[in-house]
């Protein structure tokens, strides 16, 4: 299959996409260096700054969540590849300027964790006040070896709100960790995407198949099966998530549906409708929800379903205003 994408020289993809992004949202974001997106108007000095790192090609993730009430800095790597430690160190040093401290939020992928660990050692040698929280909520893997998927957005939201309200670094790290511990995600894919720099399909899937447990980069999952309806798919995925979380009657849940890039909002609403019905039948309260494209994988078809058990403080922080280019709350 021939790749059909509007790109220029693949070598300049990330540079050009970030330049375009900051030009599109000049009142919200700017580049502080190659590959590093920061708020156009920095947060008051002294408050905790939220920094995240991750590969590109997943727009609007992750840089789309830089903005008031969410991230302060996003360090972007190449297509599907982690940014290197040197850039992360510079971003963390900048975040700590003026007496601030920084919370580094990292999605569990080998390259991202490597760069984050190397960067954390470097800033710890410099005695900078930085803490790190890892998100690893993809239930398709065994505990201890789970990828970080769209749940990071909920972590940015609650920890970002806490930081905006003047919480300490320890408090921000604790709320981020609480969200990370209480969330679960599962992905499904029905059609592959092409790697925009190489033109190669990132995985193969039969025309009439779907695969549950697919990773952010098309890494194969464990549940390949014949394509199912929206209702059936919602049931299969929600059951697995509720079971893994140990959700029970009376629990209060946040549900997030994330389109992978080519799955329509129409489909996501069909799936969400069934999720809401199933939760009601189980007397589990759907207290908050968000449906849309948060972290995509090019033109991949499929979606990620994320659920999180909320407590009153997490709900309150979720409801705080946010003004990122791709996540706004009034």
């Amino acid at each position: 299959m021939q790749m059909k994408k509007f790109i220029n020289d693949p070598k300049n993809l990330v540079k050009e996409l970030l330049e375009g992004y900051v030009l599109a949202y000049p009142d919200k974001v700017k580049l502080s260096g190659p590959g590093t997106v920061v708020r156009a108007a920095p947060k008051a000095a002294g408050n905790v700054r939220l920094v995240t790192i991750g590969g590109s090609g997943h727009e609007p993730g992750l840089s789309g969540f830089v903005g008031k009430g969410m991230l302060d800095t996003s360090v972007a790597g190449e297509i599907f590849a982690a940014p290197g430690a040197p850039k992360c160190v510079v971003a963390l040093r900048d975040a700590c300027k003026g007496g601030s401290s920084a919370l580094l939020i990292v999605l569990n992928h080998a390259g991202d964790v490597l760069s984050a660990d190397i960067a954390m050692e470097a800033v710890e040698r410099e005695k900078l006040p930085v803490k790190m929280v890892l998100t690893e909520e993809d239930i398709s893997g065994p505990v201890g070896d789970r990828r970080g998927l769209v749940g990071c957005v909920a972590v940015y939201k609650v920890a970002g709100a806490a930081a905006e309200l003047g919480a300490s670094l320890d408090e921000c790290a604790a709320i981020a960790q609480r969200m990370a511990d209480n969330m679960r995600t599962l992905a499904v894919a029905v059609r592959t995407a092409t790697h925009p720099a190489t033109g190669n399909p990132i995985f193969e899937l039969g025309d009439d198949e779907m695969e549950i447990g697919m990773g952010q980069h098309g890494e194969a999952g464990t549940g390949r099966m014949k394509l199912k309806s929206a209702d059936e798919t919602a049931e299969i995925m929600l059951e697995k998530l509720l079971d893994d979380l140990g959700a029970k009657e009376g629990d209060e849940l946040l549900v997030l549906l994330n389109g992978a890039g080519a799955t329509t909002l129409m489909e996501l609403f069909l799936v969400f409708r069934r999720v809401a019905q199933l939760l009601e039948a189980k007397k589990i309260k759907l207290v908050r929800q968000a449906i849309g494209e948060f972290i995509t994988t090019q033109e991949q078809s499929g979606f990620q379903m994320m659920i999180a058990r909320m407590d009153p403080e997490m709900i309150r922080l979720w409801d705080e205003p946010a003004d990122a280019s791709f996540f706004v709350k009034h």
């Binding site: 070598k11 590959g35 590969g55 790597g77 190449e78 297509i79 599907f80 590849a81 982690a82 940014p83 290197g84 430690a85 040197p86 850039k87 992928h109 080998a110 390259g111 490597l114 760069s115 660990d117 190397i118 790697h195 720099a197 190489t198 190669n200 990132i202 990773g215 980069h217 890494e219 194969a220 999952g221």
Partner: protein, 204 residues
């Protein structure tokens, strides 16, 4: 010696990308090209660092900066770890053995990949061991490095019969059988480049 390794990797970059597209996302060749370009700049005649160890530490840090995910982070750790051994202006065989060892240790600190997991470790570990053995036997540095390269190449070839158990390729499971690991292959090229360069200096 980095110029020769860069040359070799440049000439094979499409092979590396093709290997990677069978088990990964197909960008290993371009990642390695960027890493070697950076390393050449850091170690070339116009490099700003004062001695070999410092050059390696700086070069390794710059390789991590090419944003190539785990590949560049680990290669950068190896190069910068080599600089953890004091090398002075030029290395003899015993010093080089220590330098390769500190390089390997710095990678081992970063990755949980074990021999047989179908990763760059399947070339790197035997290469360092072969160099140490050759150095202990009193081999000249160029000969020792070429023996290390041969061990790395054998290690890389052996990954053909392995199922990936680490990194992104592990999710492909059995499908990774039959193709050599791209990271192990580029590691073998790196050692062969070192060997060619060091053997050349011995002839002069």
């Amino acid at each position: 010696m980095f110029a020769e390794a860069a040359e070799l990797i440049r000439s094979q970059n499409e092979v590396l990308s093709r290997l990677d597209s069978q088990c990964g996302d197909g960008d290993h060749g371009t990642t390695m090209m960027r890493a070697m370009e950076t390393l050449e700049a850091a170690t070339g005649s116009s490099a700003s660092a004062r001695n070999l160890s410092e050059t390696l530490r700086e070069g390794g840090w710059n390789v991590m900066g090419v944003d190539g995910g785990a590949s560049s982070a680990l290669l950068g750790s190896f190069i910068s770890g080599m600089g953890d051994t004091e090398l002075g202006d030029a290395a003899d065989c015993a010093t080089m053995a220590r330098s390769l060892k500190t390089g390997l240790q710095s990678v081992l600190k970063r990755t949980k990949a074990k021999p047989g997991d179908k990763t760059m470790m399947d070339a790197l570990i035997p290469a360092v061991e072969a160099f140490e053995a050759a150095a202990a036997d009193g081999a000249a540095i160029g000969k020792a490095m070429n023996q290390a390269a041969a061990a790395a190449e054998a290690g890389a070839a052996s990954t053909k019969n392995l199922v990936a158990r680490h990194g992104r390729a592990k999710y492909l499971g059995e499908k990774t059988l039959g193709c050599a690991d791209a990271g192990a292959t580029s590691m073998a090229l790196l050692f062969r480049g070192f060997g060619v360069a060091l053997a050349k200096t011995e002839e002069n």
